[in-house]
């Protein structure tokens, strides 16, 4: 059974970590990265996925409702935090208290880079956090919304926007930006990466790999990328 390859559908933002884990040997895996929505729809259409790791609980909920995943296998594998970033050479300083005036930090022309606030998880969380701080209404006009969080980060890295809201994991590895502040986890719904075994792909091998992902070695790798864990850790 060591030969059996396990197909994992995972949110694209997990690529670095999962590639590293797979490289450590053990169960051979085929890693398929994409947007959570695209992957979920493909699973709906019978994609050969065995394990699904989403960046977004909504899509996992949809699959669960459709009975496409093994409900008992679903766990929240990872968590993440939202941070406010600025270009590395920026001297802006902000404390994320309610009513904080971010527009001042943006200047007359500047925008705040985010993922799409209506549809992309990082954007949705970001909007929720800003709303909780009571400043969404004043900032809504000043957002520059990208189709994914990496593109938003890129806008800050290139200095096109003086500020941006991205995941902590993204900020970690990008030397051209610096974290100005971290949003308090209570400002938005928990950022979790649910994972579950796909009903049609259930097998001992996939269960074994799922175990590996929750193991000590994997934890270290995830942690190095900046991820947190629902059960404990930070």
């Amino acid at each position: 059974q060591a030969q059996e390859e396990v197909t994992v559908f995972a949110a694209a933002s997990l690529k670095t970590a999962l590639d590293e884990i797979a490289a450590q040997g053990g169960t051979p895996v085929r890693l398929v990265y994409g947007g959570s929505s695209a992957l979920a729809r493909q699973i709906q259409q019978g994609a050969p996925a065995q394990l699904f790791i989403s960046a977004n609980t909504d899509w996992m909920d949809v699959l669960e409702a459709d009975g496409l995943i093994v409900a008992e296998s679903r766990i929240d594998l990872l968590t993440n935090r939202l941070v406010l970033v600025a270009p590395a050479d920026s001297d802006v300083a902000v404390t994320l208290a309610p009513g904080v005036d971010l527009t001042a930090a943006l200047g007359p022309e500047g925008r705040i880079a985010m993922a799409l606030t209506e549809s992309v998880p990082a954007g949705i969380y970001g909007k929720a956090a800003l709303s909780a701080l009571g400043i969404w209404d004043s900032l809504a006009e000043r957002t520059a919304q990208a189709d994914n969080v990496r593109a938003a980060l890129n806008l800050v890295a290139l200095g096109e926007t003086p500020l941006g809201i991205v995941y902590a994991t993204d900020a970690v590895a990008e030397p051209r930006v610096k974290v100005v502040a971290t949003f308090d986890a209570s400002l938005h719904a928990p950022i979790v990466y649910p994972a579950a075994i796909v009903t049609e792909g259930d097998s001992p091998a996939v269960r074994a790999f799922f175990e590996t992902l929750q193991g000590e070695a994997a934890h270290e790798i995830f942690a190095a990328q900046g991820f947190g864990f629902a059960g404990g850790g930070d």
Partner: protein, 232 residues
Amino acid sequence: MTGWLGPEEWQAVGLSVKVAFWATLLSLPPGILAAYALARWEFRGKQLLNGLIHLPLILPPVVTGYLLLMTFGRRGPVGAWLEEVFGLVLAFRWTGAVLAAAVMAFPLMVRAIRLAIEAVDPRLEQAAATLGAPRWAVFFTVTLPLILPGVIAGSALAAAKAMGEFGATITFVSNIPGETRTLPSAIYSFMQVPGGEAPALRLVAVSVAVALLALAASELLARRAARRISGT
């Protein structure tokens, strides 16, 4: 009808049409020039120019958008220069969306026009020259009228592409309601969330309707131009 789409969505429709219109119109002169150069001139670096023009077709749109951002962004070399010299800002503006759409549509337009130029009988241009027409006059009075159907076809292709362009646009000028939130951005947004298919398809229907209208108009124009040329 207004009830069927929200005001924001109408805005996206209008913006898409505006962007497609300007992208097509502004690509025309350089498009015709590039097509003419590729069809008729021999020069060093011709293959390079040809490759460069095709690049947006070959690269994933995200990459094109990324390259545009690096070049034409406020901090990009060309972007900074444009802002300084002309006060022209592209980043996060609909003008930037026009640039992105134009760049993406350019290879399609050039190909169509180039094919049309290659089909022009050079003996007609020679005849014009013997009648005293300098080269520029030959171009405007003989070549251009004869390639009109190709120019229209190229413009239709370009406009359609500009209406549908998404990847490069959102990467370059992101998604700012009323400024750069074109129809495809809106559609993409809906497609990201569970249950967003229905509103997305509504917008798709609008986008298809607009594009079909434009296509039909271009067909009509092209047919008229072709009738002129068939000379009957």
